[in-house]
């Protein structure tokens, strides 16, 4: 029986609605894990509105559909999530689906399953044969492009180290009593631990990589009339949002796209945060969800409004990222071993003191005391906007004109493999330290090797055996 695979089924970059497709025996189970509110019985081929929940948070109101085998594209149970928004949002949903038990589909894998199940007729089969071949080659090209430079070197470095460690363990197993001078267990544990750390760091760089690939969502939040729309217009450089002096002019959210340091940035202007009921309330609720899920929340505070204007949203329990020092959230703390598709990491937040042109230094100092470190801007004069852009990019680990952004992982599949490598290498390291049987340490190292090889699109081959013979004088 096949396992369950998932991927984004709509073309990257397309707006509007995107589809996550899940296929395999556990498709329904995985769907229910991300959409726990589904009724106990779901009719096949029927669209249902459901809340999508990741890490305990509602992230979308989506249409979901379950197509039971064999009446589906692949002939297996297929579930689809028709979600809102662009690539960033979909990427995050896919990570959630993977965390719920699906495996990232390889190139052409859905099509292959469709063929295997006889769901595609002969004429289409001929055409798709070429398509799949092309898809495979494109995937190789894309992978090669992704791997160019630093990332490939890093992964190859990790792989070489795992091969070296595995050679040590395999030599003890296959050539006992030959008086070989082998690595000590403590050293083995230490080096396996370093491999795990390296793989984990790369897996976590996916957060940054995703920004470079898919772009970045930045939500402007804050009290009504704090100047969010003016700020958005200033950042875009043209009239985009409807601006008026009346608080609460923005009823729905407004989006604008800009390009900062090569990353595509979607700015989202949300309605002011206040209590509303009825239909409008539901729209506001959706806007709130959208803002929650943005990569960066820019909390706009009206510097001229005094203490009362600080209002809601400057979260006490949120990670704050200030203007002067950017920091990638994924790089600290969160290495608690969840290993990879981190759905639960806190969103970065940047606090902005707007309308700084109309208040004096004393007042600004007072506000700084209240809200903590903040970027001071004026949407009207454009002062401080450059610093704001820098702060936002810094908040997700993308530094303008520098940094290490060549060494980032940009595909969910690679991130998943690297996270798997980190888990396996950690197990090997702990096993070696604990005195576990060599054959188990080897099994974990081998799992790490298989994962790293897959990132490079290679097999494991004879490398370990070659390394054993190169390193040791073996034989009767």
């Amino acid at each position: 029986m096949a396992d369950t695979i998932a991927a984004i089924a709509t073309a990257a970059g397309a707006g509007g609605v995107g589809i996550i497709r899940i296929s395999g025996p556990d498709a329904e189970l995985v769907l229910r894990r991300v959409a726990p509110g589904l009724p106990a019985v779901v009719e096949s081929h029927r669209l249902t509105l459901a809340r999508v929940v990741l890490a305990g948070q509602v992230v979308d109101q989506a249409l979901v559909v379950l197509m039971r085998a064999p009446r589906s594209y692949t002939g297996e149970d297929v579930a689809e999530v028709h979600a809102h928004g662009g690539a960033v949002h979909l990427g995050r949903l896919l990570e959630g689906v993977l965390a719920a038990g699906a495996r990232a589909a390889g190139p052409g894998e859905f099509t292959r399953r469709a063929f295997a199940a006889g769901r595609i007729d002969l004429t289409r089969a001929e055409a798709v044969a070429d398509l799949v071949a092309a898809e495979g080659e494109r995937a190789v090209r894309v992978a090669a492009a992704q791997l160019a430079g630093g990332l490939e070197r890093r992964v190859r470095g990790l792989r070489a180290e795992v091969v070296a460690l595995l050679a040590e363990v395999e030599a003890t197993i296959d050539f006992p009593g030959e008086g070989l001078e082998l690595i000590e267990r403590g050293e083995l544990s230490r080096r396996a631990g370093l491999v795990a750390a390296g793989a984990r760091a790369l897996a976590q760089s996916f957060r940054v990589g995703r920004v470079l690939r898919d772009g970045l969502e930045v939500a402007l939040v804050g009290a009504p009339n704090a100047g969010k729309s003016s700020l958005l217009n200033a950042l875009v450089g043209r009239e985009r949002a409807v601006v008026s002096a009346e608080p609460g002019t923005t009823r729905d959210f407004v989006e604008a796209r800009v390009s900062w340091a090569g990353a595509a940035v979607t700015l989202i202007d949300t309605p002011g945060e206040r209590e509303v009921g009825g239909v409008e309330g539901r729209a506001l609720e959706l806007a709130r969800v959208r803002a929650e899920q943005a990569d960066v929340r820019v909390v706009v505070v009206d510097a001229s409004a005094g203490a009362g204007g600080v209002g809601v949203g400057v979260g006490a329990n949120r990670r704050q990222v200030t203007g002067d020092r950017g920091q990638a959230p994924g790089h600290e703390g969160g290495s608690g071993g969840s290993g990879g598709s981190g759905g639960g990491e806190g969103r970065a937040e940047v606090v902005v003191l707007n309308k700084c042109d109309v208040v004096g230094e004393a007042e600004r100092a007072l506000m700084r005391e209240r809200v903590g470190a903040a970027v001071e801007v004026s949407a009207l004069t454009g002062a401080g906007l450059g610093e704001l852009v820098e702060a936002v990019l810094g908040a997700v680990g993308v530094a303008e004109g520098g940094g290490d952004e060549t060494v980032v992982v940009t595909s969910a599949r690679q991130a998943e493999l690297l996270a798997g490598c980190a888990v396996a290498a950690t197990a090997a390291s702990e096993g070696a330290a604990r005195g576990a049987h060599e054959e188990l340490v080897a099994a974990d190292l081998r799992a790490a090797l298989v994962a790293l090889s897959a990132v490079l699109g290679e097999g494991v081959g004879e490398d370990v055996i070659d390394a054993v013979f190169a390193r040791f004088c073996i034989g009767k």
Partner: protein
């Protein structure tokens, strides 16, 4: 001038080494009339190199041969003089059995087994050519459809006698155009003192088989009376001696007296002598073109490649109980006689040693095993099977395992009835024999191939101890598993299942006595009552420790033999790892069921040139095998899967899911 022997056979086995013996026995035990042709009836099952059977991964192979009804395990149990279990502290999956043999008695024992088999006739004759007939052959099932090819119908021998048969198993060892090198001397020979097979290579070339050269070597042999053993380390066998065959009572004493081995080391002077004479080594003088094994380097190689190593270990292994001949394990060489004598005498304990025979290197022809189907039949000639060193392997156990598979498949190929049965193929997750044959057929080899546990990706599942569960169902389906052994398997399974249930049902209450025992084994005390099963899952507790816990708690531990207890423990403690291997194996097996047959790869769009060349050379039977060929990428596999699906539909067959 040619005489056609009046009796036809089903299967002819050419060669009676470790591969040939198992091939003949397997075919005969499946009811075929088998003719064994050997150049020398005195050297049946001869150990040309070290006098030992088993070792890491090799011991696994021997037990697999035993489970499939072979002879090697029983023969070594009867003639072993030193038994050991290796890797006892590295995990249950890599524990392996190894034994020193009494070389002469092992030969006699194996010859008796052949002679005891009514279906086998033995003849001394040198085979000079294969006889073939043209003719299309369609194979069924996994074999798919192969293009028309010649079919083997018999062999010619040197005296002009032709023997006819419907299948031939070639096990030529080091004899195909064998050349022996000692220093500057080279002469034709398959083994020291034995003539090579000079003509058969030409016959293979005429049939289109590409031949290549390999090299292997053996050390000199010593007169044990001239060894000074004072000061040498002693290596004794285990007590009680571990055994190979299920048919051997583990509590019984070995029939032969047990001996010890000794350990000594080369010295700096040894290395100096070798370095000074390297130019006289045929290998370094460039007179040997064949490729030698990396895992079994000559002492010349060791000294050159690992120049910074101060000394190399040598095991002194007796060759039998009533001979003084000793095998020095670790100093294979082809240096001139006088250099061998000089460097051997520079080794501790060997200062006055006398050589019985010199070491030598031997070069021989082999056929790259990518020429073979995964059931060891050649693709060029129907009914022709290759096994052993002819396929580029080294080692008695590797040879025997292939011989057995070739013999089984030769028997299936000559089964009565119109439809040829499915070939017998072992999977990589099922047996080391499966790993071995798949590696050979899929990757080919450029040096003598040796099995290792590192080659088995499902290593934790392939244990010596669970060989019965792995292979007896296969043996039984063939008719090679006697009822007694099948009943023993069922009894063992029932005992383990019963014990498992009892362990789960027996609760241990929280008490000071229990806490003390748990503490003594370095594991934490109970906070609430737990079952014995839960306690056994703890890494710190084995069955023996569990017995002490049960004592302290005043509960009964279910009774279980030591071997069954170990198996139950492994299944419990390795659950996660074993499940991971099973999942991966299952995924792989689905691809094994997508058959490829005779594809025209040049007509497939989307294959890279490298992938196409590799696929054309190996001609994999399934997509699973194709995926293991180095250089065949996942993109190429997609192309193959799509093509096979389209083909299936074009032929109008009902589409089925792979593996369904």
């Amino acid at each position: 001038m040619s005489f056609v022997y009046p009796i036809d056979h089903d299967v002819i086995v050419v060669g009676a080494g470790h591969a040939g013996c198992e091939a003949a026995l397997a075919a005969a035990r499946l009811g075929r009339r088998v003719l064994v042709l050997t150049g020398n009836l005195e050297t049946i099952a001869h150990m040309s190199c070290n006098p030992a059977i088993g070792g890491v991964a090799k011991g696994h192979l021997v037990r697999e041969i035993d489970a499939l009804g072979g002879e090697m395990a029983r023969a070594i149990d009867d003639t072993g003089i030193h038994f050991r279990r290796l890797n006892t502290n590295k995990g249950p999956a890599v524990r392996s059995t190894r034994a020193q043999a009494d070389k002469l008695r092992y030969r006699a024992r194996m010859r008796r087994a052949l002679e005891a088999e009514a279906g086998i006739s033995l003849k001394q004759a040198e085979v000079t050519a294969l006889c073939t007939e043209a003719g299309p052959v369609t194979l069924s099932g996994a074999a798919g459809t192969r293009a028309a090819r010649p079919r083997v119908v018999g062999v010619e021998t040197q005296g002009g006698v032709t023997f006819r048969a419907r299948a031939v198993v070639l096990t030529t060892g080091t004899f195909l155009r064998g050349v022996i090198h000692v220093g500057e001397e080279s002469r034709a020979g398959g083994r020291a003192g034995e003539a090579p097979a000079a003509s058969l290579s030409a016959s293979l070339l005429r049939l289109g088989f590409p031949l290549a050269r390999l090299k292997t070597g053996t050390p000199c042999r010593l007169d044990g009376r001239t060894i000074d053993r004072t000061g040498l380390e002693v290596q004794a066998g285990d007590t009680p001696p571990p055994r190979f065959s299920w048919w051997t009572d583990p509590a019984s004493a070995p029939p032969l007296p047990q001996v010890v081995c000794w350990v000594t080391y080369t010295s700096e002077r040894t290395h100096q002598i070798i370095r000074d004479n390297l130019h006289r080594s045929p290998l370094y003088a460039g007179r040997i073109e064949g490729v030698g094994p990396r895992y079994c380097p000559s002492i010349e190689d060791k000294v050159v490649r690992f120049a910074d190593k101060e000394r190399h270990q040598i095991f002194l292994e007796p060759e039998g109980i009533d001979t003084h001949e000793v095998y020095p394990n670790g100093v294979s060489t082809s240096l001139p006689y006088e250099v061998q004598l000089a460097f051997m005498r520079s080794i501790g304990g060997l200062e006055r040693v006398e050589l019985l025979r010199p070491g030598y290197a031997v070069e021989y022809d082999f056929v790259n095993p990518t020429e073979l189907e995964p059931w060891l039949e050649t693709r060029r000639v129907a009914g022709l099977f290759h096994a052993g060193q002819l396929n580029g392997t080294s080692g008695y156990e590797e040879a025997a395992a292939q011989g057995q598979l070739a013999g089984i498949n030769a028997a299936l190929a000559t089964a009565p009835g119109a439809v040829r049965p499915e070939p017998f193929v072992l999977a990589r997750d099922e047996a080391y024999g499966g790993v071995l044959v798949d590696d050979l057929c899929t990757r080919g080899t450029e040096e003598p191939y040796r099995i290792m546990t590192a080659r088995a990706e499902y290593r934790l599942s392939l244990r010596e101890h669970n060989v019965d569960e792995r292979l007896l169902p296969r043996a039984r389906a063939l008719g090679l598993c006697p009822d007694a052994r099948w009943r023993a398997l069922e009894a063992g399974q029932a005992a383990r299942a019963g014990a498992l249930a009892a362990l789960a049902a027996t609760r241990v209450a929280v008490s000071g006595a229990v806490a003390d025992v748990l503490g003594a084994h370095g594991t934490s005390a109970l906070r609430e009552p737990a079952s014995l099963l839960e306690l056994l899952r703890r890494p710190e507790l084995d069955f023996a420790a569990l017995a002490r816990v049960a004592d302290a708690a005043g509960v009964r531990l279910p009774e279980l033999g030591a071997a069954d207890a170990e198996r139950l423990e492994v299944d419990l403690k390795y659950q996660g790892y074993l499940a991971r291997e099973a999942t991966e194996a299952q995924r792989q097996r689905e691809l094994e069921h997508v058959h490829l047959g005779d594809l025209d790869y040049s007509a497939l769009a989307g294959l890279s040139r490298e992938a196409r060349e590799k696929l054309e050379r190996v001609r994999p039977t399934s997509v699973g095998q194709a995926a293991r060929i180095p250089g065949v990428t996942p993109a190429a596999i997609s192309v193959l899967l799509v093509h096979t699906a389209a083909e299936r539909r074009r032929r109008g067959r009902t589409a089925t899911k792979p593996g369904a």
